[in-house]
Structures are given as structure tokens and as C-alpha cells.
């Protein structure tokens, strides 16, 4: 099954459906985290990579893994665009995860500015993966702006609180024809599994791993959970549960033709 079930983002194929964050743990653990998570995409903050030679995060990311630089620190579309361009100059490739926050307390994304930045960067040939608050109208705007995926938050970033926005993410999964990648707030493998059962295309996590006692082991657990959730989704089980049970006597049995 796995071989045929590819995650396609902006024309690029991935086998793994777990995207790994890199920001909150020792650089020396990145390699082990990638391997145990089976991750093929890893995010990194451009501002963090903007360092001199002493110890650059870029040097710790194994070959063959696709970099997903993020624009954290951007407060509006203009800043996000500048950071994305810098990522390209730094050799991070064409993928970019747009993060625009006007609030330093909850780090909630600014949907309107995100749409603006998506349009500009998509036109410049970036594979744009916008982080957003799960709102259907914004998601549609992002599709029109040229996004390659949509990344709704599950709960406040770093909170490990799980799928607080479950119903709204489900709406995006049902209505948007792009990969919906659940990002932020996924605190445990079971939550990642649930997101995948709902039909999410992938899950991203950072804090849940960074705060684990044994990071590589937790990475392994997430990989398994994401795979299990995906299988459950493909098998159809998850959707039955989400939509509720069917009555045993049909309501339309009285119809005669």
C-alpha cells in the first residue's frame, strides 16, 4: 500500500506523511529524529539558519531530506516574502512554510497577511505551504493564491493540546482539494493518528518530540501513529466513526420506486 500512497506537494512526491520540526532541541539530535521519524521534510526557521559558521542548523540536517524553511518572525506579508527570498539565497530550496504572527503570546497566524504572502511567493515559483488558522474562506483564498498545501493549526503552537480545532480541520479536509497538513498543537502520537484518520494528508510536530524524555523513541512513535492513522483513513473506518452510526432500519424504506 505504502508504495502507491504518495503525498504530493507542489509536484514533489513524498512517502512519509510526518513532517518534523527542528527548533526546540539539540542540533546533535536532528539526525536521529529524522531517521526515527522516517521524515522526508524538515522545517527550520530561516532566522535560526541566519548564523555564522559556529554551528549552523543546516549542517545537521541529513542529505536527502527536503528542507521546509519557515518565515517565523515575520509580522506581515512583506516580511514573510523577504524571509522566503533569503531562504532561497541561503540554499534552502524552493519550499517555504509561511508563518506570519502579529501576536507574540499565542503565535496565532494572521490569515489575511498569509494569503497575500502566498500569492507573491507562489508567483515567484516557491512551493508555498501556509500555516493558518482553520478557516474555510481563507483556505479557499489560499488555493486561489497558489498554495501547494494548507497547514491548519490543531491548537496553539507549543501547547501539546491536540485537535482543539478538529471540526474546522475536518471541513478543510472535506472541501479543499489540496493536501491538508495538520500543524501546531499535536502533543502525542494518538492525536497525530486521529488527524490522519480524519483524512489529513500529513501531520507536523516539533514540541511534542522536543519535550519528550527520549526524542528518537518519540519520533518512532509518531511515525507509527501517522502510518496507522493513514491506514485507518484509507480503510474507511475513520470516516464512519466521525460521521456517526447508520440506523439499522432505513428511513427511506417506504419508497416504492
Amino acid at each position: 500500500m505504502e508504495n502507491n500512497d504518495k503525498l504530493i506537494i507542489g509536484g514533489h512526491e513524498f512517502t512519509s506523511r510526518f513532517i518534523l520540526g527542528s527548533g526546540k532541541y539539540s542540533l546533535s539530535l536532528i539526525k536521529a529524529a529524522v531517521e526515527h521519524a522516517g521524515a522526508e521534510l524538515i522545517t527550520l526557521a530561516v532566522r535560526r539558519a541566519n548564523t555564522k559558521e559556529h554551528e549552523n542548523i543546516l549542517d545537521h540536517i541529513p542529505q536527502g531530506v527536503t528542507l521546509l524553511p519557515n518565515t517565523s518572525g515575520a509580522r506581515n506579508a512583506e516580511e514573510a516574502v523577504r524571509i522566503a527570498r533569503l531562504a532561497r539565497e541561503l540554499g534552502c530550496g524552493d519550499f517555504v512554510k509561511i508563518e506570519i504572527m502579529r501576536d507574540t503570546k499565542y503565535l496565532l497566524p494572521d490569515n489575511a497577511e498569509t494569503v497575500k504572502a502566498t500569492e507573491i511567493l507562489a508567483n515567484e515559483g516557491f512551493v508555498v505551504m501556509p500555516y493558518m488558522y482553520p478557516d474555510l474562506n481563507t483556505a479557499r483564498d489560499l488555493v486561489n493564491a497558489g498554495a501547494a498545501s494548507v497547514m491548519p493549526l490543531a491548537s496553539p503552537i507549543g501547547s501539546n493540546k491536540g485537535l482543539a480545532t478538529r471540526d474546522f480541520i475536518q471541513i478543510l479536509i472535506d472541501e479543499i482539494d489540496l493536501p491538508i497538513i495538520v500543524d501546531a498543537g499535536i502533543g502525542r502520537p494518538s492525536q497525530a493518528c486521529e488527524a490522519m484518520e480524519m483524512g489529513a494528508a500529513a501531520v507536523m510536530s516539533n514540541t511534542a518530540l522536543a519535550t519528550a524524555g527520549d526524542l528518537p523513541m518519540m519520533a518512532d512513535a509518531f511515525r507509527k501513529a501517522v502510518e496507522a492513522g493513514r491506514q485507518a483513513y484509507l480503510s474507511g473506518l475513520g470516516r464512519v466513526l466521525v460521521r456517526g452510526a447508520s440506523p439499522s432500519d432505513t428511513l427511506t424504506g417506504f419508497l416504492r420506486d
Partner: protein, 416 residues
């Protein structure tokens, strides 16, 4: 009249000595510290009143173990819970507070610890603050680095590996004006990824200018939020104006700065009340300017000249730790900086619980980085503002932090 605060007044003229004694002994000759001086911006803000109201009404002794216990059971620590956690009643709960603080710090910052170094470029000062070694009546070697010297210092620091710098001056607009500081900051942008300033409070236009010079972070210490005590400690100079200093961070944000930091100098007044006001000051600013990155420092008085005359209200390491844990629980997302005034053992411990940023390779003198870093003698150095307790170099600090299981971060910032 007695010479109240300075033991060494040899260098002062008769007239200066007389004025100094008058300032110390006759409050009526001092200016109104609650009134702005000419040329100082007055901004419309409700933050001052909010913080002062909380400061004045807070009675740390009124809280009980039950209040603290209840506070620790809440998922979100609000203002009332924070007050309980700062109270003496919370001292027996320190370990519990530390455990929870550690979790919050990890959630928001992971295992990262940011490193920076301060650079003092001038130590001229026009203020008379009785507890400070830089004060205008103190006979110290005064110095102001010229462009060439500043660049030399920056090169020495940058070569050590440091990428974030905090530029400091004494508080003298005449000797180190905003243009001079701005030029230093432009130079700093050449050698460092991130530039902050800790200088005398300035007007919005000046902050705007400094921002254009490459500065994005402004630190101002209120020293104490107890305005009666403030009046007794800051006898002359621009710093005497309590509300103008209080509003500095807000003016910095209005001038386009990304981040602000502040603190009281714990020990000048009741440190629990000052800690409350410090955190609330930043808290209300972030509520009003949600994009602002806020950061707290936690300087406490260390042995200095006139220690006995000032009567510092002692803040031990346990109390400081309590304050920092309470800060972390109330403001989980805020940066917390612990300076080299604190010992190695304290800093190594507190970065695992609540602090997110520490200095390394520190000198509080002027123009002495090369001699401090390499041992090369330089007769042309200005005196230090205070003694430091943790003199670890950048390299040692980087290694020590890594050995502690933390990830040192030299830069996590872009000037955009």
C-alpha cells in the same frame, strides 16, 4: 553637611561638593520626579496607571499557602495567581514552581539558550543615582570610545563567535548623544546579526532613528517601581523623571522596535512588589502591542559602594529563583535574561528552569575586551560599572551549556 554617599570625593570642586550634599540632604532642592522635563515626549498611555495601581495595592504578606496551592492548580496563571506565587507564602512551594516553570520553558523554547554579550562604549553620566558606580559624582576613569575603538572592540567580540550584541552607554546625552550611539549601532550591524541597546531613555523619534541604524531591541531598567524610593535614589539628572523612564519601552515600540526588555533592580525596594510591577509592565505592553517581543531581566543589587547607606532589601538566590519561576508561569512566552552578576552555579541551574538568555564574555568596563579576552594590556580603559560574578568566555559558556544538555543559540533573528 555630611557627605552621605561617596567615600571618595577628592576630585570634586567645592561648589560641586556643596551641591551634592544639598541634593542628598535637602529634598526641597530636588526637582519634581513625577514631572517630565522640557523636551521629553509625553505619550498617552494607560499602562502607567494600571501598573502603579497594582504595585500600590499589592500586599505580598496577605497571601497564604492556600492561595499559592490554588494558584498552582490553575491551568493559566493570571494576575491574582501571579501575586500569590511572588508572595513569601510561596517560598515552600519553590520546587513545585520550578517543575512547572521548567515544563513551560521547554514548551515555548525547547532546550535552547540564547547567548549574547554587552558592550559598553561610554561611561559618562549626568545622573546622580546613589547606588551606581557610573554616577556623575563618582570619581572613576571616564571614557568614550571613538569609532575606531568601537570597531576594534566589536571585531574582538565577533571573532570570539558571538553574534548578538547589546550596546550600552552611561546616561549622558552630552557625551554620548543619540547620533553617536546610532553610528555605533550601524557598525554593530556589520559584525553582529542582532543589535540591542541599553541606553538612557529617549524620545520616539530617537528610537525610530536607532531602529533605522539597525537596532531592534531596547532594554530599560526602571530600577524601582516604588516612586517614593525612586525619588530618594535618583537625586539629579534626566533619570530623575520617573514616568519618562517608565514610558521608554512604549516609546521604543512606537518608534518601530521589535522587542523590549525591562526590570527593576531587585533590592532597591520591596523586591516582590517590584517583581510584580516589572512583569505587569511588560504584560500590559504586550497586550497593547501584541507583536512586541517582551523580555524580563532580573538584576539584583550586588555588593557596591554605599551598600550600608542604601539599605538594600536582600534578595537571596532562593528568592530570585522564586521570582523567575513566577515570571515564567505568568508569562510563559517571555524571554528571561540572567546577567553575569549572578554566579556560574546559579546561571547553570536557572537556564534549566526558567531563563532563556545569558551573557558570556562579559566586561562592564570600557574598551577592555581585548585585554580581557587575550590578556593584552591596554592602559586606556574606562572603569567598570559593577563587578561580575560569572566571567566565563563565549567558548566556555558554549561548551558548558552544551554539556548541560542545552542547545546554545547565537542568533534566532532577522532584521526585516
Amino acid at each position: 553637611m555630611d557627605n552621605n554617599y561617596i567615600f571618595d570625593s577628592e576630585g570634586l570642586s567645592e561648589e560641586a561638593l556643596k551641591r551634592k550634599h544639598k541634593l542628598e540632604n535637602d529634598p526641597s532642592c530636588r526637582t519634581d520626579h513625577m514631572k517630565h522635563m522640557e523636551g521629553q515626549d509625553r505619550i498617552k498611555s494607560d499602562i502607567f496607571d494600571k501598573v502603579m495601581e497594582q504595585f500600590n495595592s499589592y500586599d505580598p504578606a496577605a497571601y497564604t499557602a492556600k492561595d499559592v496551592s490554588r494558584a498552582l492548580q490553575q491551568s493559566t496563571i493570571g494576575v491574582e495567581e501571579f501575586k500569590a506565587l511572588l508572595s513569601p507564602a510561596a517560598e515552600p512551594f519553590l520546587e513545585q514552581m520550578a517543575e512547572r516553570a521548567r515544563i513551560e520553558t521547554r514548551k515555548h523554547f525547547g532546550n535552547t539558550v540564547y547567548l549574547f554579550t554587552p558592550l559598553y562604549i561610554a561611561n559618562y553620566c549626568e545622573n546622580y543615582c546613589v547606588y551606581c558606580g557610573f554616577n556623575c559624582y563618582n570619581k572613576i576613569r571616564r571614557m568614550k570610545l571613538n569609532t575606531e575603538q568601537i570597531e576594534h572592540e566589536m571585531k574582538v567580540i565577533a571573532d570570539s563567535g558571538m553574534e548578538e550584541i547589546l550596546i550600552l552607554t552611561g546616561e549622558s546625552k552630552a557625551m554620548s548623544d543619540v547620533k553617536y550611539i546610532g553610528e555605533a549601532c550601524k557598525l554593530a550591524r556589520k559584525y553582529f546579526r542582532m543589535v540591542g541597546v541599553e541606553i538612557y531613555p529617549v524620545n520616539v523619534e530617537d528610537y525610530k532613528y536607532l531602529h533605522e541604524c539597525g537596532v531592534d531591541y531596547v532594554t530599560v531598567f526602571q530600577e524601582t517601581y516604588d516612586n517614593v524610593r525612586y525619588e530618594q535614589l535618583h537625586l539629579a539628572g534626566h533619570k530623575r523623571v520617573f514616568p519618562y523612564r517608565f514610558e521608554a519601552q512604549e516609546r521604543a515600540l512606537m518608534g518601530g522596535m521589535r522587542g523590549i526588555a525591562g526590570s527593576a533592580l531587585l533590592g532597591l525596594s520591596d523586591f516582590r512588589k517590584d517583581a510584580l510591577a516589572t512583569a505587569l509592565h511588560m504584560y500590559y505592553l504586550q497586550r497593547k502591542y501584541p507583536h512586541a517581543e517582551i523580555s524580563l531581566s532580573c538584576p539584583r543589587l550586588r555588593p557596591i559602594v554605599n551598600n550600608d547607606k542604601i539599605d538594600p532589601l536582600d534578595v537571596g538566590e532562593r528568592q530570585l529563583c522564586q521570582v523567575l519561576c513566577a515570571y515564567r508561569l505568568f508569562l510563559p512566552f517571555a524571554g528571561i535574561t540572567v546577567s553575569s552578576r549572578e554566579s556560574k552555579s546559579f546561571r547553570d541551574g536557572i537556564v534549566k528552569i526558567a531563563a532563556t538568555k545569558i551573557s558570556a564574555g562579559v566586561s562592564t568596563g570600557i574598551g577592555d575586551h581585548e585585554s580581557k579576552y587575550t590578556g593584552k594590556e591596554n592602559p586606556d580603559e574606562g572603569d567598570e560599572q559593577f563587578e561580575i560574578a560569572d566571567s566565563r568566555s563565549f567558548e566556555t559558556m558554549y561548551k558548558d551549556m552544551s554539556d548541560e544538555g542545552l542547545q546554545p543559540v547565537l542568533n534566532d533573528y532577522l532584521y526585516v
